[in-house]
Amino acid sequence: MPADATTTRPLAAPSPAPRAPALPLRWLGVLPFFIFVALFLILPTMHIVLGAFRTTAGDFTVQNILDLNTRSIRNAYWVSIQVSFWSALLGCLIGFAMAAAVVLGGLPRVLRQPLLTFSGVASNFAGVPLAFAFIATIGPAGLITLWLRSDLGIVLQAGLWNVPDGLQALLGEQVRFPRFNILSTAGLVLTYLFFQIPLMILIITPALDGLKREWREAAQVLGASGWQYWRMVALPILFPSILGCLALLFANAFGAVATAIALTGPALNIAPILLYAQIRGDVLGNPHLGYALALGMIVITAVANTIYIVLRARSERWLK
């Protein structure tokens, strides 16, 4: 059918009265979508971005951005980046290992579908209830915390192991190790992994499925060992997907508010919680500093994604 067919047919659904005859009528079909995203995605975001460069009176300024450079805000961003980075990196590694185990590791095929279904559930089991689950497990009165203390003499919060009698000859009476607290960076990473790992599994499984058996066999028959096949063929092919997952997981953790708030209350100083507190009660004393704080968050996730896009473009010359 010729492309101009729409202009010769009466349009029934989208709009009875086209007002801009200069624009081809087919644009009407996507107009609702663009109006929607303009009103509820683009404009609000732009408002924040532009607001970060304005004074209360409406004049242009970069003072808001400069004002971000305080000890507490710097610290909040830094903790946020650390939590997001580590939960993304560990999520990628563990998720990759689990997906590879099921897809390529020779595990029974019946495990595959349950794992994917469970990943769908767990990756969406985020927010407030996830925090509850972890508090009940390794919080101060959690199941594992109590079990470790009563049965093994390990006190997580204190970083102390009261070694039982049988092992004292070997280890001494007490062993010290880094303290663990669910309300800390490590605790947050541990909790975030609960939705990061399954997300990785969900995204990387199709990519692993895309590795053709013939590639492995062709490499083998040309003399390559399993490790050489992974280093020279499989990992380069998977690299863009893995990078994409890393960027997505990073953004996913960076914007997570609910889990952190339910886990620690407003006490933990990370960027999204600081912004949350600012929106609720202007704790920074300058509404436009809130804009700058939000802008910083956008910039950081945008940088993560730009790095991903650049690296991907470099590693994917061989793709159509």
Binding site: E217, A218, V221, L222, S225, I237, W318
Partner: protein, 354 residues
Amino acid sequence: MAYLDIAHLEKSFGANRVVKDFSLPIDQGEFVSLLGPSGCGKTTVLRMVAGFETPSAGAIRIEGKDIVPLRPNQRNVGMVFQAYALFPNLTVAQNVGFGLKIAGVRAAEAQGRVAEMLDLIGLPMAEFGGRYPFQLSGGQQQRVALARALAPRPRVLLLDEPLSALDAKVRVRLRTEIRDIQRRLGITTIFVTHDQEEALSISDRVVVMNAGIADQVGSPFEIYNQPATPFVASFVGTLTPIDATVIDPHQGTVMSGGLTLHLGRALPVQAGTVVPIALRPEAVHLGRASGREIVLPATARAVEFMGSVIRIRAEAGGQSFLLDTFNRPDAPPPRPGEPVEISFSGRDVIVIGA
């Protein structure tokens, strides 16, 4: 002593025996095809030679040395897969040089070998070396796959239906090229296909496989003209076997449907035995012709115009005959329902298994 000797090979998946007592000695430089329908075990045999499957029993020897205990990356064989087996993240030159790099060949030397291989397959280094697989046509990709398999100078070349994913025209051209290159390098080759025309046209010898067994091993000429089993007869070429009773085995006289046929050669069976016989379509003639002593009145039932050849199904005395006749612009073929005469010679009758 055969260069590549496959002896009493067996393979079972669970209770399913997919390869049964398969033996095949192959001489150096020989081009052998494994031909059969899907599931006949031909690919399994090839994959056992490559090392991707472990035989349940039997031996595979190259130059007298059993390679069964070796892993695929220790066997030094080359393999071309059905399709899409080029590494998509590597250029054409990197793909062809992959095996050399693994083998630790020095870069300069490897580059020379890669260029030589690319010349051999007609995709010169300067123009194609830097391309990625997705920038090549299917035929070009399979050529590169061939070059990649040949670059490390393998002892044996294994081709696993390398042409079946290609267009008909490319398929015919590429098979000629493959045979050409194989002759020039003198490399021992096993070619797996389900396409009988492909197997007959390029092989020194053809192995027709059915249900895990080698039904017949022979030159294309033998396979086509002296099929050893009804399966070979029906799978290779077109014919319909019918039963005939042997009247006189020494004179070679048989009877079928009230028709007495003189085959002109002795049959190694006793009188009264029922044997399957058949006629190739090209042995049956439309109208009378000298040297074709048997003439039958018949009715044309179906006429298939295939270009240079016209295939006619004619019925005579309740028996169907397929016959091929060359197209002649001045003589249109009979229409279905028209009475015709067909003729053939008893000497052209194929006795299956004799």
